[in-house]
């Protein structure tokens, strides 16, 4: 149906809410759970529920429970996840074989299947947490951005409407002037969640005051940071919230058209967004004369083609215009001259999704979360060597320790925590002594990292820090668009120096040169990519200098990662002088004579391992080089 007035929508939402409250089976359809077999679980539930309905004598089921495939529920580690509403029972690692028991016990009799719920050892006793909010992973989380993600069927508009969907848009159009909207957003203290942290209200204000025949709203869904999947989860799991936020932004600045720029690697997000746009247009939430008003707004979904730099706003604009995605100097800021030369605002997915809920519940409510300068919440993708990998949302100001150890469950396999990489290739590595640092924009940048979009990769004692720095530099060097010299040449040189470090070929003056180059690239690059690319290098040099020195001075890799820091040796007891090793050695560094054990020249050896493979008597050993004083 098409909604012509706000009253019609409110009436419809009230009706939908009356209908809910019955049993519901939510199966997580996030990428992690799907890969672990969530579809089979979903099919098993479907089959069981349909069959139970036919068998009239077991009509103890209050009514046919709704079965919903939702977006990401967050705890990807323990997927496939299943939640039973309204009791909010969370089952982990559900297999199709478990479905019968869940239907029999939980759906029919309201009992909990204990073996499938979260177990935690408290004071030596095993505690079962059936209610999902009791699970340690969820306890400290506050879901604002992810309010619908993992709860609704993203492809069903009614599910969104039943949770006050598009009500914020309806109220804004009928009650508020654009200036009032901007005032409310400014008051809420919402800052850009893409990483920069620019106040959203101010950005809108800039675009609002510029006079132009056309203006644009762009939603940046080009989540390119390796190790981040928050925006992906939101676009896949709650696409209508993105659209509603964009429409409100459009109303506020006076735009008629919006673009969502999505990464090419996220085909499911594109699919869900396109379906959502189509449904919203049919229902009159997008298109001409929205909800009977004179406000018209269209949204176009654009797919990126694989370029990290397109996350930078001016590059993104070039890409939407069909050009090479290269950044342009600012000013002029896009708010004055953006897409096709018209005033344009660009907000990240997470920022947009916060907008409807702020308009609905007020700036003061939003400010009640987080800190004075960083209001609200932030989503993070926990990954790396952490026990509970997954998607979380926490109030700003929570400490890294809470996030990694309480919510994330600590380090995998009881290894030792070494560092946390926050903000992806533009961010920095923080150490143990930063664990009590509150997560907000200012504290993080004070420590040399950035909030970034929310990728949080935990590194343990088995991770080599210079190797991680090399990895990030390799990434930024590859993704540098080549337009400005500092970034194009600087990243290449930094990469070369880091390669020397991990290969054991660097000396201490290389480290000085690395630092110097990093500072130049940071200060002289044109866009955010280059300006932030040295962050991983600078922070690791600052906090893990010893590990660099181990590689450079002692040629030792304490984490046992860098292959060049190994030594191949021939055991003279076992060697039969067959010369097979010497024949395969590509650099001819093995010498010997018949009946005399062969010897590897450590200076020349490239650690290729060919001799190791070739030796028929297992006489070649590989050892990690140790510091001489050890």
């Amino acid at each position: 149906m098409r909604f012509e007035t706000r009253e019609e929508l409110e009436k419809y939402i009230a009706e939908l809410k009356n209908k809910t409250g019955k049993k519901k089976v939510l199966v997580c359809g996030g990428l992690g759970c799907l890969a672990k077999g969530a579809q089979e679980v979903f099919d098993a539930f479907k089959e069981a529920i349909e069959r139970e309905k036919i068998a009239a004598e077991v009509e103890k089921l209050e009514e046919n429970p709704g079965l919903v495939k939702t977006g990401c529920m967050g705890l990807c580690e323990a997927g496939p996840l299943v939640r039973i509403e309204p009791e909010e029972i969370l089952y982990l690692r559900v297999k199709p074989e478990d479905v019968e028991e869940i239907v029999e016990k939980t759906l029919k009799d309201g009992e909990v299947v204990e073996r499938l719920v979260y177990q935690e050892e408290v004071d030596g006793k095993v505690q079962y947490w059936s209610h999902f909010k009791d699970v340690p992973f969820y306890r400290k989380q506050v879901k604002i951005t992810l309010r619908n993600c993992g709860t609704i069927d993203p492809q069903n508009l009614n599910e969104y409407l039943a949770r006050d969907g598009y009500l914020a848009l309806a109220r804004v159009i009928s009650e508020k002037t654009p200036d009032e909207v901007i005032e409310e957003i400014t008051k809420s203290g919402l800052r850009g969640r893409g990483g920069g942290g620019f106040p959203t209200g101010r950005k809108w204000q800039f675009a609002r005051v510029v006079k132009a025949d056309k203006k644009y709203v762009i939603c940046n869904g080009d989540e390119g940071d390796p190790g981040a999947f928050m925006d992906r989860s939101v676009m896949e799991g709650d696409p209508h919230s993105v659209l509603e936020g964009m429409a409100i932004a459009g109303y506020a600045i006076g735009a008629q058209e919006g673009y969502i720029y999505v990464r090419a690697e996220y085909p499911l997000a594109v699919k869900h967004l396109r379906k959502a746009v189509e449904d919203a247009e049919k229902a009159g939430f997008l298109g001409d004369n929205i909800l009977g008003s004179d406000f018209s707004f269209r949204i176009i979904v654009r797919e990126g083609a694989g370029a990290f730099v397109c996350g930078e706003e001016t590059a993104l604009i070039s890409s939407i215009e069909g050009k090479r995605g290269m950044p342009n100097p600012r000013p002029p800021y896009p708010a004055y001259r953006g897409l096709w030369g018209k005033p344009t605002i660009i907000n990240n997915v997470e920022t947009m999704v916060n907008v409807p809920v702020i308009m609905l519940r007020g700036a003061d409510w939003f400010r009640s979360f987080g800190t004075t300068n960083s209001a609200g919440t932030k989503t993070f993708a926990l990954a790396g060597k952490i026990r509970n990998t997954g998607l979380v949302e926490v109030p700003m100001g929570i400490t890294l320790r809470d996030l990694i150890f309480d919510i994330g469950g600590g380090i995998q396999n009881d290894k030792k925590f070494k560092a946390v990489q926050i903000g992806g290739p533009s961010g920095g590595c923080l150490t143990e002594r930063h664990l009590d640092l509150p997560i907000d924009y200012d504290s993080l940048s004070g420590a040399g990292a950035i909030m970034g979009s929310g990728g949080l990769v935990v590194l343990d004692e088995d991770t080599c820090i210079p190797e991680v720095a090399r990895f990030f530099m390799n990434f930024t060097q590859n993704e540098s668009c080549g337009k400005c010299v500092p970034c194009r040449e600087g990243t290449k040189h930094m990469l070369g120096l880091l390669q020397k470090v991990v290969k054991g070929e660097a000396n201490t003056s290389d480290l000085e040169l690395l630092e110097e180059t990093a500072l130049v690239v940071r200060d002289a690059s044109l866009c955010g990519l280059g300006k932030t690319a040295p962050n991983p290098v600078l922070t690791t040099l600052r906090y893990f200098r010893d590990e660099y020195l181990d590689h450079v001075v002692y040629k030792v890799c304490p984490a046992h990662v860098c292959q060049a820091m190994r030594e191949y040796r021939i055991d003279p007891e076992k060697c039969r002088s067959c010369a097979k090793c010497a024949r395969v050695c590509p650099v001819s560094c093995i010498s010997g004579r018949p009946r005399v054990p062969y010897v590897i020249d450590q200076e020349k050896c490239t650690k290729c391992g060919a001799c190791f493979e070739a030796c028929p008597y297992d006489s070649i050993t590989v050892e990690w080089r140790k510091k001489e004083n050890e």
């Binding site: 799907l34 690697e265 993708a381 990769v457």
Partner: protein, 171 residues
């Protein structure tokens, strides 16, 4: 007569391209989307088609070529029927994605510098992140994600893809 015949062959060859151009109303703003559709049709961007697109959109071939070479998604060389994207995002990297890549390449018999098998069945690429960090190390075969890969699982997967082994669980 001969040129007429030639242009007929040409227009037939470009029929699909014309349909794509038509769909995007010959608008140069849609160049990326146009190239994306051409690539999904041909599995790469043949040079003569790039030139044709430039002429049809009344822009210089350099502009089309510039866009085609800027984005990682576009390829000027034929790609395999199936694309295996090994994720080398941070989470996958620290969990050993390079070994996974090596195993994939070895099992497919790719030599150094090659990314496509000689029978044009498979292309192996790395990708910066597929957002499946919880399943690291992960890879994608076309649109299917496979997680928690190790050398053994890669071998099983490749055997399955070559039609020899059994289906492999995604995780």
């Amino acid at each position: 007569m001969e040129t007429e015949k030639g242009s007929l062959v040409l227009s037939r060859q470009f029929e699909k391209v014309n349909a794509i151009l038509e769909k995007y109303s010959h608008n140069v703003d849609n160049l990326i989307a146009i190239l994306q559709e051409i690539q999904s049709e041909y599995r790469y961007l043949p040079e003569e088609i790039l030139t044709y697109v430039a002429t049809a959109l009344q822009i210089s071939p350099a502009q089309v070529y510039g866009v085609a070479t800027f984005y990682a998604q576009f390829s000027l060389e034929p790609k395999g029927e199936h694309i295996i994207r090994v994720c080398d995002g941070t989470a996958c990297h620290v969990k050993g994605s390079l070994q996974v890549l090596k195993a994939v390449r070895e099992n497919l018999g790719l030599k150094e510098g090659e990314s496509t098998t000689s029978d044009l069945m498979f292309t192996v690429e790395t990708v910066a992140c597929i957002g499946a960090c919880a399943l690291a190390p992960a890879l994608m075969v076309d649109e299917e994600v496979y997680g928690q890969m190790d050398e053994e699982k890669v071998q099983q997967l490749v055997e399955h893809l070559l039609g020899e082994g059994e289906k492999v669980d995604a995780v």
